[in-house]
């Protein structure tokens, strides 16, 4: 096929006008006699038109909003720097090694700053920055972005106002394609459980036991709404981050 048809990249370059005159002439000659390539170029042109007329104007504000939100997040992490974040992680790891297993209380040194969770909310065409205390509604769509200083996977779980524990992402490998942070694939849609909900990101290098995580979340739920609002960390020796929001059922 590669000898007889235009590649998708060639068509893209052609649409962008970044081919030489000679290439353009060859392409035009080919397209005159090749029905599949002609159809492919037409489809690409239609898609291009649709993007410029509808998708671009509609999504540019959302893209800019996500960038501003991500920038705020990076600014928060920025002063720590990757090296110091790794240092904090090393300190946490050292502490975990030093603390006997029977100690289940929170470690003295918090891992704050060594792992981060950012939640992007979407309500129709609006993109919302979900920070602690944000007010969300049933039906809002949430996506998660995480930053780990070195752990290879993250588990995302939550406990809601009904006291229900959910694991949205079991230990999920983090992308390593050049970025320091990863936006997790897929999204969740909020249900109508009232009151606060806290979402935890637990970073690790191994698959975490879901039943064990749920047990920890159940313990938070047992403390009621105030515990959900105030428990920023689960009592497990892992790098973690969390965000809580309130659900507004009145609209």
């Amino acid at each position: 096929m590669s000898e007889s048809h235009l590649s998708a990249l060639s068509i893209a370059r052609m649409l962008l006008g970044s081919v030489s005159d000679e290439e353009a002439k060859e392409t035009a000659t080919h397209v005159e006699v090749c029905i599949p390539c002609h159809a492919e170029i037409e489809a690409a042109r239609q898609s291009q038109k649709r993007f410029l007329a509808q998708v671009f104007p509609r999504t540019l504000p959302a893209l800019e909003s996500q960038i501003v939100s991500a920038h705020r997040w990076r600014r928060w992490l920025g002063p720590l720097g990757l090296a110091s974040a790794a240092g904090v992680l090393a300190a946490v790891v050292a502490l975990v090694v030093a603390v006997p297993a029977r100690h289940t209380e929170e470690p003295e040194i918090q891992a704050k700053g060594s792992g981060a969770l950012q939640i992007f909310g979407r309500r129709g065409d609006r993109v919302l920055a979900v920070e602690d205390g944000a007010i969300l509604r049933p039906g809002d769509q949430l996506r998660f972005a995480v930053q780990s200083p070195g752990n290879s996977s993250v588990l995302i779980a939550s406990v809601d106002g009904r006291g229900e524990a959910s694991v949205y992402y079991p230990s999920t490998p983090l992308a390593r394609d050049g970025g320091l942070d990863s936006i997790l694939e897929g999204s969740i849609v909020l249900d109508d459980a009232p009151g606060p909900e806290r979402i935890f990101a637990l970073f690790s290098d191994r698959a975490l036991d879901i039943a064990e995580v749920k047990k920890q979340l159940d313990a938070v739920a047992a403390g009621g709404a105030s515990a959900i609002r105030s428990t920023r960390r689960l009592p497990v020796p892992l790098v973690q981050a969390s965000v809580f929001f309130e659900k507004d059922l009145s609209r």
Partner: protein
């Protein structure tokens, strides 16, 4: 805030390359809403590495590569969901491999079932129709690596087709 020049550059990249990247995502994902989301995600990633963004034609290859990788990951994730699992058609046992892979739809379905490492190379060669040298340039790997991965892909494809026949 970041310098305006950076924001302006991202907006310009989104306007200039967004249409072809959207088309790329649409072709790979076959779903308009998913293609919109993936185009935005691609440019979010572009924004994070804007300082490394090459100029002109290399910029297209760079963004194209990011979009391709992300879309193929999405396709892989969909395949993990059993309700979206598509059956492969039967292929005659004596049909030469090149002839089987010349059917781009069938090639796509076979590619979605092979090892991740081989998937992108197989896709850009057999579905997109890039020659070895172009594939190597797009993916930032050597021609030898392209050839080796395609050979490994062909071996896996033969096994998959063998199971169907």
């Amino acid at each position: 805030m970041y310098p305006n020049v950076t924001e302006d550059r991202l907006t310009a990249l989104y306007r200039d390359y967004g249409p072809v990247i959207y088309w790329r995502c649409l072709k790979l994902l076959r779903d308009e809403a998913a293609a919109e989301d993936m185009t935005q995600e691609t440019f979010l990633r572009v924004h994070r590495h804007l300082d490394k963004a090459p100029d002109a034609e290399e910029a297209l290859r760079w963004i194209w590569r990011i979009a391709t990788n992300r879309c193929l990951n999405e396709v892989r994730n969909r395949k993990r969901r059993p309700d979206l699992h598509e059956e492969l058609p039967e292929v005659p046992v004596d049909c030469p491999l090149e002839q089987v892979l010349a059917d781009r739809d069938l090639a796509q379905k076979i590619i979605e079932r092979v090892d991740e490492k081989l998937r992108v190379v197989a896709w850009v060669h057999h579905v997109d129709g890039l020659e070895h040298v172009e594939a190597a340039r797009l993916l930032g790997i050597s021609r030898r690596t392209v050839a080796n991965r395609l050979a490994a892909f062909h071996a896996q494809a033969r096994k998959i087709i063998g199971r169907l026949s």
